[in-house]
Symmetry: C2
Subunit: 288 residues, 2 copies
């Protein structure tokens, strides 16, 4: 079965052709322009490739309630050319195949549980910590959405006692994204991300915020597996420190096999940087 | 269909007989003693009542993973007589009928969505704020559990700027339960709960903590309906203040129909004080 996949981000779109086993046969990356130009490039890429269905993991916010008139629209994004844009409808029209849509990060969660090492997990939480922070949650192979997709990056943080940074989120100041994303730390330190060394004090704060957020996710969702991706997680000290601080914060209150083995419970993406695009292939399998 | 229901709490057990419509025909309340004495009282109450199945919403923590040897046990509770007690197995043996078990607060969530005014909701979050704080979440009529049932009352809070109370939770200090439960406020004020007037400053802090916790639950779970029960919510000023502060904190970031109508989104239990026991009837319907 030939499937199309799109991972749509604010700076680039990844386009791929693959199959129902999660194998990718062709992949390109194009910069995010305005919808008309990008749609044309998508059309040109998939033309003649005989895809039978398409999946897209897309930046948001998205309308994902199928009962709504604007189902499949990108809604109130600050990327104004894409605000209120019917991306699902235009892809269906453009490509003439069934299309399934979800958020980029829910797609990544689905990719890990469908094609990664975590196929046997009852539930999986995928958190990306990079330019933005977001989370996707899969239960029994199905992406969880309620009234809207989750917006997990915006939960409020209690300030690290030594951190005086007010937070960079224009909506919430000191939310998780406002305190621990890449741009937040550039603002905190006044340095470019690539210039901040791994042993910089700011990463003590960030590890602490990530651990605090994970504690909330564990207490609210109780996921059986947590996968952390995104640029900030590329810093080598992050995983061990997050596990150590999380363990201190939980303080033995919740007792499960998983929490007794944090090394395997809180882990890297098994698909490397391809969780998202392979998740889009998994979405294509669900397209109707 | 004649069904048995138990709402098992740390201070009392409510026992009831009812039917598949959620109608209760008989109900008593007994103090929580040790397991042997309480089991005998349960046996005496249900004897000759011809119940076909039983549901129990129980204080925890519980082992709810059916693959585990200790499925249906109360595990590490501070109520030592009940720690490591096989409540599910003993009820099955005692009553000779199929029994289904969940937490008290997941039971209440199930009661509201099965027999209350919220039957049409895709998801429902029930939070109780009283002697303890806990939450239960139902998705498409099914209680959500991951590696364990949720422990939503223990997410960390950022301190209200005027609140100097260190928190009463022995595990986490300033978690939601440690800052906003009834016993937390008795410790903060040095007064008995019944002596603290509604206009006491401490309820400003508590309303703020509840709003902060709801913000986290909304961003992580995105429930389509939130029901708040428990003694603290009996204070008349709480609902309006929580809605006001939540709206300020979210600051327009998440846009949904529900958040545009907080009066109906964040609401009282439609079953009054019977969410839990009627939830136990709904659990009985699932017993195998």
């Amino acid at each position: 079965m030939i499937l199309g996949a799109i991972e749509a981000g604010g700076t680039k779109f990844v386009l791929a052709v693959g199959n129902e086993k999660g194998e990718i046969t062709e992949k390109i990356s194009i910069p995010t322009r305005n919808p008309e130009e990008t749609m044309k490039e998508i059309h040109d890429f998939f033309k003649g490739k005989n895809i039978e269905a398409l999946g897209i993991g897309c930046f948001g916010p998205l309308e994902l309630n199928k009962d709504k008139e604007k189902y499949g629209f990108i809604t109130s994004t600050p990327k104004l050319a894409w605000a209120d844009y019917d991306i699902l409808g235009n892809l269906r029209k453009n490509l003439g195949v069934p299309v399934e849509i979800s958020t980029d990060v829910s797609g990544a969660a689905l990719g890990e549980i469908t094609f990664g090492d975590y196929k046997d997990e009852h539930t999986l939480l995928y958190i990306t910590i990079g330019t933005g922070i977001g989370g996707g949650y899969v239960i029994d192979g199905k992406i969880h959405n309620g009234m809207l997709h989750p917006e997990m990056g915006h939960i409020l943080m209690s300030r690290h006692p030594e951190d005086t940074f007010e937070g960079s989120c224009p909506y919430h100041g000191n939310c998780f994204e406002g305190m621990a994303s890449g741009p937040a730390n550039e603002k905190r330190t006044g340095m470019k991300g690539t210039e901040i060394p791994d042993d910089h004090k700011s990463f003590d704060y960030i590890a602490s915020y990530i651990a605090e957020a994970l504690m909330s996710y564990i207490l609210v969702l109780s996921p059986t597996k947590i996968v952390l991706g995104g640029g900030v997680m590329g810093r080598t000290r992050m995983f061990p420190e997050i596990r150590r601080i999380l363990s201190e914060k939980l303080n033995g209150y919740v007792k499960t096999d998983q929490l007794g083995d944090l090394l395997h419970y809180i882990t890297e993406p098994s698909l490397g940087t391809e969780s998202g695009i392979k998740g889009a292939l998994a979405l294509a399998l669900m397209a109707e």
